[in-house]
């Protein structure tokens, strides 16, 4: 069961580890990312930062989708972390199991506009988000578990 899918460019940091993992009771974290998979130093650091009693799995987007579709993740209370909108978009193209996405943090960049305090999107990302929402994925903004939740469709 997927308990949380989050877009967060900082991946596994304090807020995710201590606030979200506690709140969702997740027992497994999947970092779905094409770059981290090949970065031994980053993986080591992320492993040290992971909560105890919680499994941490790295997959590229393709393999993440395959794992999700195969059912091997069903036995976990799974938390999926993605770095960017594009990663979420590509993952959602390859699997239908993701019904909700928490859009937590995204980086400010050229041409991007703020949709909330810590979330920025550019035009291309906006179109991808709209497409995902049209496909039936509920995308919401909520930085910490006790912050109020806003649906992205009310904002975009």
């Amino acid at each position: 069961m997927i308990v949380l899918t989050r877009i967060d460019y900082r991946l596994l940091h304090g807020q995710v580890v201590y606030a979200w993992i506690n709140f969702t009771n997740a027992d497994c974290i999947l970092i779905a990312d094409d770059t981290v998979v090949n970065d031994e130093f980053r993986k080591k650091a992320l492993k040290l930062a992971k909560p105890e009693n919680c499994k941490l799995v790295f997959k590229n987007i393709q393999e993440a989708a395959e794992a999700l579709n195969s059912g091997v993740t069903d036995k976990y209370k799974l938390c999926i972390i993605l770095q960017t909108v594009d990663d979420a978009y590509r993952l959602c193209k390859k699997t239908d199991v993701i019904k909700e996405i928490n859009f937590g943090l995204s980086q400010k960049k050229e041409g991007s506009k703020a949709v909330s305090k810590a979330v920025y999107v550019n035009e291309e990302e906006k179109q991808k988000l709209i497409e995902m929402m049209q496909k039936g994925v509920h995308i919401y903004l909520q930085q910490g578990p006790r912050d109020s939740l806003k649906s992205l469709e009310d904002i975009l």
Binding site: G14, Q15, Y18, C28, L48, P51, Y76, D147
Partner: protein, 136 residues
């Protein structure tokens, strides 16, 4: 229900609680005592009041900055109280772990948390452990 007080020399307590609240995303209710910043404040009696107001099913965790420091020395009078738990040498890792719901008996839980918070001190030049793949 546990209550938590952080007591330090100077403003470290205020700062670390502020950081804790920022990371957790809400006011955790952890109290900060910044000893020796205002002369009149007798922090031991502030803690004593907190102890006195504990209900029978409540525990108080007091975290200080430094074992052997004057704040922790003064707090040692609480170290063996049945409903007070004194931990010296605070770090953020410790506080964050205290936020995790825990069903173990409190003495066991705190021993584990202290051990694990020590592991949170890491010289990042040579990361220990390995990047071996874990799979589902």
């Amino acid at each position: 229900m546990n209550h938590i007080i952080v007591a330090t020399h100077g403003k470290m307590a205020e700062g670390i609680v502020d950081t804790l609240n920022l990371i957790m995303g809400f006011d955790t209710g952890v109290k900060a005592i910044c000893a020796y910043t205002e002369e009149e404040v007798d922090y031991v009696s502030v803690i004593q009041q907190e102890v006195n107001s504990l209900k029978p099913d409540e525990q108080l965790i007091v975290c200080t900055d430094l074992f052997g420091g004057s704040v922790n020395n003064a707090c040692m009078i609480f170290a063996e109280e049945w409903n007070v738990h004194l931990i010296a040498g605070i770090n953020l890792n410790l506080l964050l772990q205290l936020m995790v719901p825990n069903t173990e008996p409190i003495e066991k839980a705190l021993s584990n948390i202290v051990a694990s918070a020590k592991d949170g001190l890491i010289y990042c030049r040579h990361l220990e452990g390995n990047a071996d793949e874990m799979d589902f």
